[in-house]
């Protein structure tokens, strides 16, 4: 039973407007089910707003007085007005204006939205629901037609603090995968409007998920990395990775750091060093074997590829871009190559280009074409027989739908897997679904938000993976879910493996692309992928 929520009732005084009922979630194949969710703890309910769907991504403190309620509304309206001015939003103004003004409410976007479908088609998760709220509020308060004619001009939503808070939470029920924009006949981008709402809340009201802002971009700019890894800590980690490489391969590799004038500055998501060190280790092994002239940077912001600003805040986005490119320029490298991290690649390679005048002087590329070149050019030999297990490939939204990088990763898999071992997921390529961790979801761990993420956002990916391995789900067969993106791997770890139990039930594990390449090196003493101990 889907829960009907008319737009004009969005500010209803119901304690929870659209509670998530797990019985309504889209079914998964093969009898796979998710553990029941737990309701918010009583202590939380007294402090924070859970009134959208019973979950909280932002931990918004409940207003304690009428004045606080009025301040929330006034701040929101002030921010909304700024969102449509070039002074405050030149970087996204045209797409924002277009998507606000020209939606025809045809709902074509809805069926493309994995959140809406996974939730059992709850009204509040429609791809165009939050955009429609935004449009009606804007029309009601900032257009003459809306002020004069109200509902007759399509402006039938009165604003109160509940509407603002629920809208803030709703902005974080979209992974910004942009399948909706790809499906829209007009080109309306509801995901962009979700992002613009996040921006309004961050830049005007100081409201953003803890993990993304206060524990994300702020320590990134102050200390060097979103994970809090300092330059000294980074160098310690590299020493550990060199030992890891020796232990796994018998080779002693000195990872180049701060090498002036190198051809390539490789930047990884710093989460890789902490959670999946075998990924940066694999890059070091491959680059060494291929004779690539490369370096890492140990400078603050020089060793961190991520840019959380792209999900919620233009000021933080631009600051991080400037810091990253500045470090590359100081090293005098020919180009930056971004490791296996989708949003970082998108932010650094394309979005950065028009954020800084003169900032495009350093070339920036994804690592995937380089990995494909290494796989193809023959200097490094691969033995596909060493990867003799079924593999499916996840297409990270930022790399594939938003940058069009579709073929290199497939070319690599062709070289390092035996024939017949690779299987595409249903709807692969630019039509692929988000991993469930997109737009910051993978790192957002506030209150009970991870439960919502795993139950709803990761659900479609769980279905895709099960469909891809439908002929070999027997747990005696090890299977590899290749996700060449750090956030996608985090979503796989927390969603697919921990929440849905894919490792125990189906012997499905996950990892990056470089690890698969190294696992296919013929002269390793033992497999690089350690199925039991590492995953």
């Amino acid at each position: 039973m889907t829960r009907k929520v008319p737009i004009r009732d969005f500010g209803s005084e119901l304690p929870i407007l659209s509670p998530l009922d797990e019985g309504e979630l889209a079914e998964l194949p093969c009898g796979c089910c998710s553990p029941p969710g737990t309701p918010p703890r009583p202590g939380w309910l007294e402090k924070y707003d859970f009134s959208l769907d019973g979950f909280s991504a932002l931990g918004l403190p409940l207003p304690r007085s009428k004045e606080e309620e009025e301040t929330i509304v006034a701040c929101f309206l002030r921010g909304l007005e700024k969102l449509f001015t070039p002074e405050n939003n030149w970087a996204f103004l045209l797409p924002t204006v277009l998507s606000t003004d020209y939606c025809l409410r045809c709902n074509t976007c809805n069926a493309s939205c994995m959140i809406y479908e996974s939730s059992g088609r709850q009204d509040v998760y429609r791809a165009n629901f939050r955009s429609e709220l935004l449009r009606r509020i804007y029309k009601r308060y900032f257009t003459a037609a809306g002020r004069l004619m109200g509902r007759w001009a399509g402006a039938d939503l009165e604003l109160d603090w509940r509407v603002v808070y629920r809208l803030a939470e709703l902005a974080y029920r979209c992974t910004l995968c942009r399948r909706c924009a790809a499906a829209c006949p007009i080109g309306v981008d509801n995901a962009l409007l979700a992002r613009e709402l996040r921006k309004l809340f961050s830049l005007e009201m100081g409201l953003a998920p803890e993990a993304v802002h206060r524990s994300g971009t702020v320590p990134h700019l102050a200390g060097g990395a979103a994970t809090g890894m300092t330059p000294a800590g980074f160098l310690d980690t590299l020493a550990f990775i060199e030992e890891l490489i020796e232990e796994k391969t018998g080779r002693r590799i000195k990872i180049p750091v701060d090498k002036q004038g190198a051809e390539i500055l490789l930047v990884h998501n710093s989460g890789e060093y902490l959670s999946w060190p075998e990924n940066p280790a694999a890059f070091a092994i491959l680059f060494e074997a291929a004779g690539v002239d490369w370096t890492l940077s140990s400078a603050s912001c020089g060793y961190e590829a991520v840019n959380y600003g792209v999900w919620y805040d233009d000021v933080q986005l631009a600051r991080i871009v400037a810091a990253q490119l500045g470090e590359a320029r100081k090293l005098g490298v020919k180009k930056i190559v971004v490791g296996e991290c989708g949003h970082a690649t998108k932010a650094t390679v394309t979005i950065a280009e028009r954020l800084l005048a003169g900032g495009s002087t350093i070339r920036r590329e994804s690592c995937l074409p380089l990995l494909a070149k290494i796989a193809a050019e023959g200097r490094v030999r691969f033995d596909p027989a060493r990867n003799d297990f079924p593999v499916t490939l996840h297409d990270p939204c930022n790399l594939v739908r938003l940058m069009g990088i579709v073929e290199p990763q497939r070319a690599v898999l062709q070289r390092v897997l035996p024939p017949g071992r690779f299987r595409e997921m249903p709807r692969a390529g630019t039509k692929n679904y988000c991993c469930g961790g997109g737009s910051g979801f993978a790192v957002m761990d506030n209150l009970n938000f991870p439960e919502w993420r795993n139950c709803v956002a990761s659900r479609t990916k769980a279905r895709q993976v099960l469909d891809a391995f439908a002929d070999c789900l027997d747990p005696s067969i090890p299977k590899y879910y290749c996700a060449p993106c750090s956030n996608c791997k985090a979503a796989a770890r927390d969603g697919l493996l921990e929440h849905y139990g894919f490792k125990q039930r189906y012997n499905i594990t996950y990892g990056g692309l470089a690890e698969l390449m190294v696992n296919a090196l013929p002269d390793l003493p033992r497999p690089y992928l350690s199925w039991e101990s590492e995953f």
Binding site: R319, A322, E407
Partner: protein, 306 residues
């Protein structure tokens, strides 16, 4: 009153359409150059695909294939392929409605051509007669298709719970307005002007600057409704036909590289001088975008503790 509505009012409506459209388009075109926000696949890249799939892509010359882009645009403009793929039920009504609109534009073009010819030569010129006959043949098709499409879409939005929930008053107003326009047009054709000669003749009088009286209430009503539609169009969502150019060519398909010293870079440099007034603590008060960024750069430039 009838003379005013089918004469001066139509001039005013045409002027509002022209000026309103120009103002809207110029306003969109003059917005600052935004950051890259494209979506792949880009039709003009053809089978080569994204340049980001290549090492040293910046050395590659820009790839632009006209044919796939034109084929995509034709598929969208004429057949509404995305709507077909996403919502078959809605696509059917949309196709009918737009067929009515496209045929309506063709009808207007035929009437205008006939009117101009009749002004230049004799009324009975064979070309004028042929154009009249073509217009008379197209008119009922245009009106019937447009009427059927609009009525179908209104009905669908009433029957389908999801569409009803997301439709606002304006959505229904626009569709009912279109249904009325096409319905009255159909009545005008069948009851007042089967040969379309009156419409052409009146258009000729408008072009001559001496609007004539219109005989037949239905035809006059159709003209007044058309005038209202033309004046309303640039300020409504129905202007999406023009906005779609910006959606696709300026946003979804915009992968233009920023070249040092280019006009684009000068535009971005100018935008960086804007002073944002966002209120959050982490935004520096009174600083331009360039200063917001360079402040953090300085911080990032401090000696490393490694």
């Amino acid at each position: 009153m009838s003379w005013f509505l089918t004469g001066p009012f139509l001039y005013a409506a045409a002027a509002i359409l022209a000026v309103g459209s120009a103002v809207k388009i110029v306003a969109l075109a003059r917005l600052p150059r935004h950051v890259r926000w494209e979506l792949y696949p880009l039709p003009r890249l053809g089978k080569a695909g994204s340049k980001y799939q290549k090492v040293n892509f910046a050395d590659q010359p820009p790839h632009h294939e006209r044919l796939p882009e034109i084929a995509f645009m034709a598929g969208e403009i004429l057949l509404f392929r995305k709507a077909y793929a996403g919502r078959r039920d809605l696509w059917f009504g949309s196709l009918l409605l737009h067929a009515g609109l496209y045929l309506g534009i063709a009808l207007l073009a035929l009437l205008a051509a006939g009117a101009i010819l009749s002004l230049m030569a004799a009324e009975g010129l064979s070309a004028v007669v042929i154009l009249d006959r073509l217009a008379a043949a197209i008119a009922p098709l245009a009106m019937a298709a447009g009427l059927a499409g609009a009525v179908y879409l209104v009905a669908l939005r009433l029957v389908d719970g999801g569409l009803r929930a997301m439709s606002d008053t304006v959505t229904f107003f626009n569709l009912i307005f279109l249904a009325t326009l096409f319905g009255v047009g159909l009545a005008a054709w069948s009851l007042s002007d089967v040969a379309a000669a009156q419409a052409r003749s009146h258009l000729a009088s408008l072009l001559r600057g001496r609007p004539a009286d219109v005989e037949g209430g239905w035809l006059a009503a159709a003209m007044v409704l058309f005038g209202l539609f033309a004046a309303y169009l640039p300020f409504s969502r129905m202007f999406h036909f023009a906005a779609k150019y910006f959606f696709y060519h300026q946003v979804l398909w915009d992968n233009e590289a920023m070249i040092a010293g280019s006009r684009m870079e000068r535009g971005v440099a100018a935008s960086l001088e804007y002073h944002p007034s966002w209120s959050a603590e982490h935004v520096r008060r009174g600083a331009s975008w360039r200063e917001q960024v360079s402040a953090e750069r300085d911080e990032g430039d401090r000696p490393h503790d490694a």
